[in-house]
Amino acid sequence: MTTSRFTRRGVLKTGAVAGAGVALPTIFTAGSASAFTNEPKGDTVTFGFNVPQSGPYADEGLDELRAQKLAVEHINGEGDGGMLNTFSSKALDGTGLLGKKVTYVTGDTQTKSDAARASAKSMIEKDGVIMINGGSSSGVAIAVQGLCQEAGIIFMAGLTHSNDTTGKDRKKHGFRHFFNAYMSGAALAPVLAKAYGTDRKAYHLTADYTWGWTQEESIKAATEAVGWQTVKTVRTPVGAGDFSSYLTPVLNSGADVLVLNHYGRDMINSITQAVQFGLRDKVVNGKQFEIVVPLYSELMAEGAGEAIKGVYGSMNWNWQLDNPGTKAFVKSFGEKYGRPPSNSAQTCYVQTLLYADAVARAGSFNPCAVIEALEDFDFDGMGNGPTFYRGADHQCFKDVLVMKGKENPTNQFDILEIVELTPRAQVEYAPDHPMFAGGTLGECNPGD
């Protein structure tokens, strides 16, 4: 059994505490005698895995946690090493991190920015974590990223797709491996144009909050660039449950494509109901009516069941990709948990390894040194092909997957198929692109 007791033991072991039973105050200092926040001084270093464990994304959080545990095992030299065998950087040798064993604590974000901040705060203050990883919504990512900047630790974002995370809310201490709404649009639009033609009229249903808005903006811009028209964009309440009153006007609007800018439970309900409305059986303007879901995830696809067959969407990564990194990861994950990893699991796994690798290359846990090692880092072998961590906005650039719901699945995990691997060059943009402008990274902050 792995033992992890998540205390700040490390601080004390090397501290000036002579013997037990000393009843007088020995140190009385402001802050502690560390060079930076939560400097690990014992023989262990603690990571914080902050994922949704309750609420609508709990299953996604569970999958992230599986991957994060696997990453810790591989860093500590247990298991088969996974992507460490294929990773282009060889700084990690499976002996822990700078001679210390990696342990972790877990927290529950509840997919609420408040709860996520509180949980992250307690990890930083009580458990002394040096890095936080995880999450499955942009609101949470942006909130926790801000906290980490203030506290002086590193945030390796999990699933966050909004442009703002590395756009107007970018932070020096926050790093995103996941792709974003702009990239989804850039990758999807050409494929859609090829499949459905350039003369299409789109109707958007958009979840009424920041992520929904940035995705709507991105997809609208990208599809209009290939010649589509946007008939109408309609905002729907988050957690509406029943979307019928938003779906009824669609057929009659003259639109022949429905774009669902929803995620999670909203997406599962809206697409199921849209299909029940028989939209995809209709012919409008002489063309077959189609539905598009710009952001896919395996769990949503599972939840929507039959409804996603033939529906296009985009993903950050998929277990069916044919490259050595993917194969190594799917093998160690699949053998341990009996199911293929989701794309949120992959992003968390990779982010954890990337952080550890940056520490190893920098030779220090100091956040400023780690940030320097991560910025403008080129790597390969992590499942996404050659990848670049841009220093200007801390966004990763790599190929984007365009997916389609599989018509004839052969087993329970075989729900989506890869349609196209959009090359990195096609989804790149300048750091000051209008959709991302207005943010500043700020300064590196080592804390106390």
């Binding site: 299953d59 028989g278 929507a304 039959e306």
Partner: protein, 343 residues
């Protein structure tokens, strides 16, 4: 014009679900005088009956097929549902396809049991306690049931498709003389509308035309006198609670194809069903039905683009706004009896 007809149909359909959920709640309040915050949870349990039925029907025998591979490249385990093995492929597939309607067979006895256990185990002891205590204990119960469901089924919604015979939609517009594709509505939602009408009619007929119903109605009016007459009203109240649970349960089971069941859906519907009951008048059955349809239609119209453009966000709050207005102007609700909870 066509938009208005369409939203009207949609409102009736939404309203039928609201009415069905609110009916059981107001039934319990009217007969037992109990405010049940766990009512949404009963709806959720009903929806999970559909999930369980689907799982039962798809229980499978596992055979290894070396010609196919799973995601790790190992021989694939092929699952064949037992019902297909027993009844042949076609009948087996048909049974699985009809899992949702069949789940009513499971939902009725199961929800009756749940209702009975809840009333005898907990609610019974709270008849004489203040409403606040009833709200609190049932709120606690709702949390407990919800967490148990989450631990068993996980947090991700589980898809439960409607029978294939009801997929697709009916083109109403053509019947009314509009162009094709102008007014269409899914078959399954129409089925749900009919189903809820039948259930509503059955509950009303039961209370109006049976001796049992008469006694219960008498008990609603004056519990003590009925007791003095030597009628065991307690036992009938237990049965009433079970009936309310069944109504909520079947409403949930049939709703499963529309809204994939997840552990939290009870809380989402709880607030809504309370609003419906309060607007209709606490304890008034016709009131709950009327308010259900009314709120459904209002909500549909509020989400029309024209109205949303004029008043952004109105579709998000219309239900609550209506509740506030009704409560202030007509505190006993639309059809509430004079003097019931009217202060």
């Amino acid at each position: 014009m066509d938009q208005i007809i369409l939203q009207f149909i949609n409102g009736l359909d939404k309203g039928s679900a609201y009415a069905l959920i609110a009916l059981g709640l107001t039934l319990i309040f009217g007969t037992l005088g109990v405010v049940n915050f766990a009512h949404g949870t009963l709806f959720m349990l009903g929806a999970f009956c559909a999930v369980v039925m689907q799982r039962i029907l798809t229980l499978s025998a596992i055979t290894i097929d070396p010609t196919q591979k799973d995601f790790l490249g190992r021989p694939l385990e092929v699952k064949t549902p037992y019902v297909e093995l027993w009844f042949g492929h076609d009948i087996g597939q048909l049974l699985i396809d009809w899992a949702v309607p069949l789940s009513l067979l499971l939902a009725i006895p199961f929800m009756a049991l749940v209702g009975w256990v809840m009333e005898r185990g907990i609610i019974k002891h709270f008849y004489k306690r203040p409403h606040a205590d009833q709200i609190l204990v049932t709120f606690g119960l709702a949390i407990v049931i919800q967490e148990i469901v989450k631990q068993i089924f996980g947090a991700n919604p589980i898809p439960v498709p409607a029978p294939k015979a009801f997929s697709g939609s009916l083109d109403f517009g053509v019947l009314l003389g509009f162009d094709p594709n102008v007014i269409v509505y899914p078959y399954w939602r129409l089925v749900y509308f009919l189903f809820s009408s039948v259930i509503l009619a059955a509950v009303f007929a039961f209370l109006r035309y049976t001796t049992f119903g008469m006694v219960v109605r008498a008990g609603m009016a004056d519990r003590e006198t009925v007791g003095i007459l030597g009628i065991n009203i307690d036992k009938r109240f237990t049965i009433m609670f079970a009936i309310a649970a069944i109504v909520a349960g079947v409403a949930g089971a049939m709703y499963a194809p529309i809204n994939s069941p997840n552990y939290h859906m009870g809380m989402d519907f709880l607030v809504l069903s309370f609003v419906v009951v309060v607007v209709g008048g606490m304890g008034s059955l016709p009131g709950a039905v009327l308010a259900g349809y009314l709120l459904g239609i209002l909500e549909s119209f509020a989400s029309m683009n024209v109205i949303k453009d004029a008043l952004p966000g109105i579709d998000q709050i219309i239900i609550y706004l209506t509740a506030i207005v009704v409560l202030l102007l007509r505190p006993r609700g639309l059809l509430g009896k004079r003097g019931v909870m009217e202060d």
